[in-house]
Amino acid sequence: MFDYEFQNPEFLWLLSLLPLLIFWYWWQGRKAQAEIIYPEAEFLAHQKANRWAFLHRLPAFLRILSIALIIVAIARPRSAEENTRSRNTEGIDIVMAVDVSGTMLAQDLRPNRLEATKDVASEFIEGRPSDRIGLVVYAGESYTQTPLTSDHKILRNALKDLEHGLIEDGTAIGMGLATAVNRLKDSKARSKVVILLTDGENNSGEIDPLTAAMLAQEFKIRVYTIGVGTKGMARTPVGYDGRGGYFFKRLPVSIDEELLQKIANETGGQYFRATDNEKLSAIYQEIDQLEKTKLQEIKFYTYDEAFDLFAIWALGLFAFEVLLRYTLLKNFL
């Protein structure tokens, strides 16, 4: 809270006048005071019932404190946040094609494949603030969730809202890839990337995955393919239970690795296999590394002005002092 810096630190020298002020108050209190002469004053002053009498210094104390706070406020304290925003000179456009078929709810990744993907992808987006990123979802067919955008907030929200069941079930890898390519084909970015994530075999759609891969190649788009799913059996949903949940059954995981490998190879990308959360996360990091952009670091600061806090406190203390002077500590001199 106190890592403030001051815009006008020279005003802080005024604080050195405070002892003078304290002295002045003390002197005033001693000298120019209209005191009552009362025969037994000393006796009274030493009574236990007089223990609150020291409060007479409170208004002066509050006044000095509020003056100190005002001085600090004048010096304009602010907390600086140093942002190193990287501007790449040549941006990368990335489209993430995410499989939302029913099998993505399989629980071999925690809590399930889809959720794990959403988490990791979100992090990935965060780590690439200067790239334009789009989001394409596919199952039985495919559509564009978010076009290429540099507004990553919207992107992350869209990602968060991904759910199974929005589109007809199935796994149309070709359609997904084609849609992603479609999004990228008009891009003027030097580097274009599709991250294709799936957990099964192409079993529907009107476009063959390899055709789509050729399209990608045509447009000089690199396709990184990720197969999600553990090796062996996985708890996979097989039907609705009628209460909004699913029946699960242990089914063998079948990913068309050959196909994915091929797509990656043809487009100059790479194929990864994510068998658990850590692996998935590592894969995204690796893609992140592979697609390093030329960065131009721009440092800039966002300042959070904090003078209002001090000013409000000063005002509050001052008001409290005045209140005390005219109510509780009022006297009739």
């Binding site: 001693r30 005071q33 209209a34 005191e35 009552i36 002469i37 009362y38 025969p39 037994e40 004053a41 000393e42 006796f43 009274l44 002053a45 009574q47 019932a49 007089n50 609150w52 009498a53 020291f54 409060l55 007479h56 500590l329 009022k330 006297n331 009739f332 001199l333």
Partner: protein, 289 residues
């Protein structure tokens, strides 16, 4: 205080108190403090209505005209005024300070004494004897006393009544009429009072201010103790503190009354907003009965 103002003040007090002593106390003072026996004082021409038994035949024969002897009560009493000039006397919330009232009372007593041919002396005391003016007669002496009463500045501001009484008992061998004027905010004078009262006709006049009895609720105040000169902040809003003050006042009051009653001295308490002539008068009347 310049001389002009001082004289004016002395004059004002003289006029006020002389009238009092002439009209109110002429008889009362006289009969309250009696001298011993009658003594021849002078002869004067016989006038119609004089007692023929008092004719001095020797003088009448010599001068061939009737003369009579005049007797006077042998008084030559000494009136000692002991005045507390400690700091606490410079307090007064009503019309006047305690010290001003003391001055007027002293002047009244002094004029009464002078009229009755008594000598008047004065002792100023604080925690020591500040000034001693030996007893003497005459109007000019009385005026001097009044002047001193007005302008005297004590060296110390504390109170020790016992010390003053001891000093007085030590030097005054003849019986005297003594008035001790103070606020009696002290509780260490009982023994000295007993000793002094055995020899002298002693009266305490206690002057107090109602604000001393009842500390008013004025909030948080800086107060200067006139005895020590220290300024301290006092929370007069505390009802506990105020009752403490009442208690202390009552203690002093009790000590004062008991001490004077036990030593057989007279005591008189006057609140500063009361009329002192009435109080003095009733005291004298009570005594002469």
């Amino acid at each position: 205080m310049d001389t002009q103002a001082l004289l004016k003040k002395v004059r004002r007090i003289e006029i006020k108190t002389r009238r009092l002593s002439n009209h109110l106390f002429s008889g009362e003072y006289h009969s309250s403090f009696k001298g011993r026996g009658m003594a021849f004082s002078e002869v004067r021409r016989y006038e119609y209505g004089d007692d023929i038994r008092a004719i001095d035949w020797n003088v009448t024969a010599k001068l061939n005209e009737p003369y009579i002897k005049v007797f006077e009560e042998e008084r030559e009493l000494t009136l000692m005024l002991m005045v507390d000039v400690s700091g606490s006397e410079n307090f007064g919330s009503k019309m006047q300070l305690k010290r001003e009232m003391i001055t007027e009372i002293c002047a009244t007593l002094a004029f009464s004494a002078i009229q009755n041919n008594d000598k008047v002396g004065l002792i100023f005391f604080s925690d020591k004897v500040e000034k001693f003016i030996p007893p003497a007669k005459g109007k000019s002496h009385t005026l001097r006393l009044i002047r001193e009463l007005i302008e005297f500045k004590p060296q110390s501001s504390k109170t020790n009544i016992g010390e003053a009484l001891r000093f007085f008992s030590a030097f005054q061998k003849r019986r005297a009429i003594v008035f001790v004027l103070s606020d009696f905010m002290d509780n260490r004078y009982r023994d000295a009072l007993k000793i002094a009262s055995r020899k002298h006709d002693l009266t305490g006049i206690r002057i107090y201010d109602p604000r001393e009895e009842d500390l008013p609720n004025l909030g948080l105040l800086p107060m200067r103790d006139p005895e020590s000169g220290k300024i301290s902040w006092v929370n007069t809003s505390s009802s506990k503190l105020r009752s403490k003050m009442r208690q202390r006042f009552a203690e002093f009051n009790k000590y004062y009354r008991e001490s004077f009653l036990r030593s057989g001295a007279g005591d008189l308490t006057i609140r500063i907003d009361q009329s002192y002539p009435a109080a003095l008068l009733s005291y004298f009347k009570k005594r002469s009965r």
